[in-house]
């Protein structure tokens, strides 16, 4: 038994030494200099180069590729940034990102938060860990993130996070790739337009649960957190529901249920474009890359419509 325990101890020590040493070098020499990409690079860009951003847009790919901050003239802020993120930009991610920004003394006067009632809002993603993991590279810099992981992520996740390498799980190659491009980052406002035109034959409505299933408690808590923090920090919060082609993911009942929750729990302006009929000209395939993502032309039209609504607020 002694020999077994000794071997295990050596193994653990060697792993820890490699883990700590590698992550220290990787973080300081590569990650902190990576200023683009979805594995923390765009957040680095925001933290390092957009400290004075007065308007920040948060949300999923339907924020990242839909809202061009430059076209939002109605907002007087000079520095605007789109911090949407593909795939995992749900409420848990966004509430923690907001805390991270505030901890780094980045306080926008306006926050535009993109939301969808279905399916992203209801999608089960293992206690929001998939969303949370996007911010793990910043865990040592954010007390709020550490405390959230401690209280919400579960023991297994905490044990994994004991190894610092886990912060970069699934992100290593992406960071290395984006590190190479660090001197040519031209993505100043965070908006990335999509190319391509949707083929109508590929459009299929997603299956909608009717009535709408209950919203996950952790996501409602994250929404309430965003509402509370914005109210406390005096940040104007505008929540936007974008449309989908032929309403493929539009769930009227779900959207109104979510709007009711927002109205009950806090102060926020709501701009509801979830029904495509609210911007009927967008209901043409030439404006869409796929059924849920606008292409560059569509995003321009959508951003203009959003700007018009902002002007009316």
């Amino acid at each position: 038994m002694k020999k077994i325990l000794r071997t295990l101890l050596i193994l653990i020590l060697v792993i820890l030494a490699i883990d700590r040493g590698f992550v220290y070098l990787f973080h300081s020499a590569i990650f902190s200099k990576t200023l683009s990409g979805e594995s923390g690079g765009s957040v680095n860009y925001l933290l390092q180069r957009k400290k004075d951003a007065g308007l920040i847009i948060m949300g999923s790919s339907r924020a990242k590729h839909h809202i061009d901050p430059v076209r939002l003239y109605a907002n007087a802020e000079k520095i605007k940034y789109n911090a949407g993120i593909n795939g995992t930009g749900g409420l848990i991610y966004n509430s923690r990102l907001l805390h991270l920004l505030l901890e780094k003394n980045i306080k926008p006067s306006t926050l535009i938060l993109q939301l969808d009632a279905h399916p992203y809002f209801t999608a089960d993603d293992d206690r929001g860990l998939t969303e949370l993991a996007q911010l793990y590279p910043f865990i040592s810099e954010s007390r709020s993130l550490r405390s959230f992981v401690k209280n919400e992520a579960g023991l297994a996740e905490q044990i994994k996070l004991f190894f610092h390498s886990y912060r970069f799980n699934g992100k290593l190659l992406n960071i290395l790739y984006n590190y190479r491009k660090r001197h040519s980052v031209g993505d100043e406002n965070g908006f990335i337009p999509l190319e391509g035109i949707l083929k109508d034959s590929l459009v299929q409505p997603l299956s909608m649960a009717s009535p709408m299933p209950a919203f996950p408690e952790n996501k409602i808590a994250a929404l309430q957190d965003v509402l509370t923090v914005c109210a406390k920090e005096n940040i104007q919060l505008i929540i936007v529901f974008p449309p989908s082609y032929h309403n493929v993911i539009h769930h009227p009942g779900g959207t109104s249920a979510l709007i009711n929750i927002i109205r009950k729990t806090g102060r926020a302006r709501i701009i509801d474009f979830s029904d495509i009929e609210s911007i009927p000209e967008l209901n043409q395939s030439k404006y869409w890359r796929d059924a849920t993502h606008l292409n560059a032309d569509g995003a321009g039209l959508f951003s203009d419509s959003l700007n018009a609504r902002l002007a009316g607020l």
Partner: protein, 468 residues
């Protein structure tokens, strides 16, 4: 309880410490208790089903041995077989047959609302082989219910095999007072991490792409479905052989030896060889208890083909109560029959290029069968095959998530490198015994661990074969 979970790590650490310092009967009770806890982690009450099959076959085997006449022996053999299969039928196949009878208009019975007990097919087959071996006189009936219970329930192989044989396991379990050597522990430990690497880094990351393409196959071009199918071939291999590696590794850490279950099957040069290397414990079970019982190759060519087809059809049905699995078995049976007819396995390729072509031939044909294995319905399977051949659209290929796809590529390249360079030539025992072998194994485990931290999909996915 999953091998790839933190709960299991805690469970096994406590268990190992106690097991190490106990001996004889105490060890046996501890092993049984741990196996019960392990199994009851899923659905506690189902442990009673396990005890029922244990009771049936324990009793049947003793009666077979004690009976004086062949007729009585045969009666107790069938008593064991029928009752054990009945449990399997009730939980696994009842709804399948009812659905089919209802569809034919023969009955109008409602389905039973039951969940399949995890790993039922595995321990059923293990119990059946024991009864048959006692009947054939190859082994003695086990008189200790505790030892026999451990043979069926031993937790490393309880839910997804390898399907162990009584002649291998019972002698190891009878005394249970062996010393756990550093060598056994070390080899088992490193084997476990090799399996964990396969599961977490390769299988679970590949599953992200496979699930995305298969679950919405109508939205994706044939090129993505083709890649999805090839990745499923990798996923199922790493998921299942990874589980087997972990099971074999855990058993070895405890001083037990399980049989090998996989032998680098995708390097096979014909389908016959593939089936000798894939899920060895099942394919040898099917050969010994079905194929040979049907007559094997003793009654001429056509009956040999018939027996092969029947064996593989039943092998398909063993995997799941669905026509897709039957078709999967049928296609494999057809491959084996054609190879037997053409005597392909006798043509050994001599040059590297011809060897590679034969490996590609096996991979492509096996991938075709995996479509039926992975698809949920027959329509989905035929839809996917149709799209691969008629709607390929290479320009429509998307990685979906570049991070995930690059992790998949890194995982597969690492897997191939280790399988081809290391494990094709050396076993873990040979590696351990080689010069500085312990350090080589330790370096490998550290590498696998770091790969898991950086590239693994750590969502704790279940193993595919748990459903069987």
């Amino acid at each position: 309880m999953l091998f790839n979970s933190i709960v299991f790590l805690v469970f096994f650490s406590i268990f190992f410490f106690l097991f190490y310092y106990m001996n004889g009967t105490w060890r046996k009770w501890l092993l049984l208790l741990a196996s019960c806890i392990f199994y009851m982690w899923f659905i506690p009450v189902y442990v009673l089903i396990l005890f029922l099959t244990i009771g049936i076959d324990y009793f049947a085997a003793i009666k077979i041995e004690d009976d004086k006449t062949d007729k009585a022996k045969r009666f107790h053999l069938w008593f064991g077989i029928i009752n054990t299969c009945l449990v399997l039928f009730i939980f696994k196949y009842h709804n399948f047959f009812i659905d089919n009878f209802n569809a034919l208009g023969l009955t109008h019975i409602e389905n039973w609302d039951i969940i399949l007990p995890i790993g039922l097919s595995f321990h059923t087959f293990q119990s059946l082989s024991y009864v048959v071996e006692v009947y054939r006189g190859n082994i003695k009936a086990e008189r200790s219910l505790l030892t026999y219970s451990n043979f069926v329930m031993m937790f490393p192989q309880l839910v997804a095999g390898p399907i162990e044989r009584a002649n291998n396991m019972l002698p190891q379990l009878r005394t249970c007072d062996h010393t756990i050597s550093y060598r056994d522990f070390s080899i088992g430990f490193h084997r476990f991490f090799w399996g964990l690497f396969k599961k977490v880094v390769v299988a679970d990351t590949a599953s992200v792409f496979v699930d995305a393409t298969y679950n919405n196959y109508m939205l994706h071009p044939g090129s993505m479905l083709l890649v999805g199918t090839a990745l499923f071939a990798v996923q199922i291999y790493c998921d299942f052989s990874g589980y087997s590696d972990m099971a074999i590794g855990i058993a070895r850490m405890l001083g037990f030896r399980f049989r090998e279950n996989f032998a680098i099957p995708y390097f096979s040069k014909d389908i016959t060889e593939f089936w000798r290397r894939w899920h060895i414990s099942l394919s040898s079970w099917l050969r010994d208890y079905l194929y040979i019982s049907f007559g094997g190759n003793r009654y001429g060519q056509w009956k040999t083909y018939r027996n092969l087809m029947l064996t593989m059809l039943l092998g398909g049905l063993w995997h799941g109560a669905s026509w897709n699995f039957v078709i999967w078995g049928g296609i494999n049976g057809l491959y084996l029959s054609i190879e037997k007819m053409t005597n392909l396995p006798a043509w050994k390729p001599k040059f590297l290029i011809s060897k590679l072509m034969r490996v590609a031939y096996v991979f492509i044909l096996i991938c075709l069968t995996w479509v039926f294995f992975r698809a949920v319905t027959f329509e989905q399977a035929t839809g996917i095959i149709g799209k691969i051949f008629t709607g390929f659209n290479a320009s429509g290929f998307q990685f979906l998530d570049v991070n995930v796809f690059s992790s998949i590529v890194i995982g597969i390249v690492t897997l191939l490198a280790f399988e081809y360079v290391v494990f094709r030539n050396l076993t873990f025992d040979q590696l351990f015994d080689s010069k500085k072998g312990q350090w080589k194994l330790m370096a490998m485990t550290i590498f696998f661990f770091m790969m898991m931290l950086f590239f693994g999909n750590s969502t704790g996915n279940q193993f595919i074969y748990f459903q069987f």
